[in-house]
């Protein structure tokens, strides 16, 4: 596609509900990244894929967070039993290989947990 596409753009979840956020990277981009951006903060790294392999998940805040990219293209970030502190914008980014030349970011999914 022309850019990184994320859906939904907005999601309101009741506390305890499970959510799934989707990221469609630029076609041919090998690397895919997820970031979490809380209000008034910069993006914080969650996890990184190279093709279907999850090479780094050190930023996932708890075992309620799970990401997958089974066929090396579309990725899903799942949050189980959402808590209010999970409210944030979730950003997806992709790059041809690695991030040393910078990423292309999506518009993000704004998650609000009520």
């Amino acid at each position: 596609g022309a850019g990184v596409s994320q859906s939904p753009r907005y999601k309101v979840a009741k506390r305890g509900q499970d959510v799934a956020l989707r990221c469609d990277p630029i076609s041919g981009h090998v690397s895919l990244f997820w970031y979490q951006q809380a209000l008034g903060q910069g993006p914080e790294f969650l996890t990184y894929f190279q093709n279907e392999a999850q090479l780094d998940k050190s930023g996932l805040p708890s075992d309620r967070f799970f990401a997958e990219r089974p066929e090396g293209s579309v990725s899903t970030l799942k949050i189980q039993r959402t808590q209010q502190e999970d409210s944030a914008v979730y950003l997806c980014a992709s790059s041809l290989v690695g991030g040393s030349k910078g990423y292309t970011f999506g518009s993000g999914t704004r998650l609000t947990v009520v």
């Binding site: 990244f33 993006p43 780094d56 930023g59 991030g99 040393s100 910078g102 990423y103």
Partner: protein, 108 residues
């Protein structure tokens, strides 16, 4: 631990005035430094990388290893430069550490 500090949350300058957005980092090795920009209602996008030593939209940034700084500068601010600016550091080429951002307003 890696850290990026942007001391100014808000910065206002008049059109045509010079602008400098400050960024300091802490990292013991040789990091790669970046500036990202987010214009109103647009997505976060790469502005420039220190390694390419380029000037984008009139902005430049020099890596000062002695002061561990990577300040973003432009000699003459334009109204269209009003945006949120994030400094970011990477040492692996993959995981980025972002600062908290500086909101720049250029007053006409």
């Amino acid at each position: 631990a890696q850290r990026v500090t942007q001391p100014e949350k808000l910065l206002s300058v008049f059109k045509g005035a010079p602008v400098e957005l400050k960024c300091n980092y802490s990292y013991s090795g040789s990091p790669e430094l970046f500036w990202y920009v987010q214009y109103s209602r647009q997505r976060l996008q790469l502005l420039l990388r220190h390694i390419s030593r380029e000037s984008i939209k009139g902005f430049t940034a020099d890596l000062n290893k002695g002061e561990t700084s990577f300040h973003l500068k432009k000699p003459f601010a334009q109204e269209e430069d009003s945006a949120m600016y994030y400094c970011a550091l990477s040492h692996t080429g993959n995981q980025f550490y972002f600062g908290t951002g500086t909101s720049l307003t250029v007053i006409p």
